[in-house]
Amino acid sequence: MITAERKPMEEIMGYVEPCQRILLVGCNECVTVCAAGGRKEVGLLSSALQMAFMKSGKVLQVKELTLERQCDPEYVEELVREIDGVDAVLSMACGCGVQEIARRFRDKPVFPAVNTSFMGASERQGVWAERCQGCGNCVLGLTGGICPIARCSKRLLNGPCGGSTGGKCEISPDVDCAWHLIWERMKALGMEKSYEQVMPARDWRTSRDGGPRKIVREDLAL
């Protein structure tokens, strides 16, 4: 899933400070799972904003709504009924959701209330960690199901650097060395031989380095 964290209150207040009425929109997908921008967080932020502005004597009117998916035009269309009369939209979805609202409602300012972080998985309650960088050419089949591009600080493709100590990365003892994990996994699977396989220099065009990406499925396009 896409993970996110709520922005600092001061920043959010800075965006909506000139507004009298705002539409605060959550998303029922990834940001709900990572507890950053679902229905519950929309309610909490709405109350927090109203109370914070009230301290300085300002009444901020907040309409709350949580869409099924904010990155999908079909669901964003639901905002048509709600958007008239508000000065701005404050979105608690990932950057995809914010941009979809901006694309659909060209005359309405849209502000992000969360910082979109990474594609990750839940390690345990309240902890999410990066697992994928969407490089467009998956190597997991060669690395025992552990991604060196997302999980090695240096995106090394063939083995660890000199900074790995006791299975931990040089950037922090809290970060596992991806190549240590790969080696351990290959040993457990009896696949040490795979480690000798050389991965050539990567073609990054399938990654963000090739510019903004798009998938076109002719079989599905209308």
Binding site: N158, G162, S164
Partner: protein
Amino acid sequence: MSFRKRLLAGEFVVLAEMDTPKGVDISDLINNARRIKGSVDAVVVPDMDKDVMRISALGGGVLMQQQGLEAIIRVCFRDRNRVALQGEILSAHVLGIQNLIVVPGEDVSFGDHIETKAVNDLDEIGLLKAIQSLEDGIDMAGFELKGAPSFTVGCTVAPYTDEEEMKREIAFAEKKIAAGAEFLIAPPVYDVAWFAKFVEGARTLGVPIIPTVFLLKSVGIARYISINEPSAHLPEDLVTRIRKSSDRTGECVKIAGETIRSLKGLSQGVQIDALGWEHLIPAILEQAEV
């Protein structure tokens, strides 16, 4: 005799690591270079070591050559993409640099520009193969070069905490050698018996192994390494020996010298890292009887 010739002849080589200054005052670098001239076979110039911005390895390497010292420059892929790296490597050749060491480089969070974006377009294997390709007259995009460079190319071995990690490093070194590395620079040695195990395991690699000898400089540094770097295998006795000495700097010089002496039958050279105290290298070598 050049570094390459000495390597090929199986002779013991002495390398000194010398970092470039942060700024354009090169007087210390030049003075240190003059002090060690004649004592060492070549100078290894790091490439923005610890990601601290300073004069580049190529700049430092050229300065060494101007002083009559053979230079080995490190090339790291952290700060440059394949286009910039290949251009730099071609420049190195035309400026007289004959030796390269491919290194991964430390993470940018260690440096003095922590807001920067690491590049890491290639990795060690990718860079070694790129050098190999340039030497064959073809760049990474497949275009023919107008004149091909040639180098003696080495790589590094990462520190290993236990025999399992050592095994993994040897397997990785095999890949690097297959990609064009002709010699290996091994991590600092404080326990020669531990290093001997690596040599034994790496015997099949068939390339010269040059371990690093680090001048400890103080009891504080020795203590720090022994506590924080388990892969260093720095014996407690060594820390005690420095602490108890009335001349701690002299003791550190003696330790470095003794280590080199013990490595003589075991490796094909040493890379001395004196951390800016290059003026002590002749004294270390005197202790080492090199």
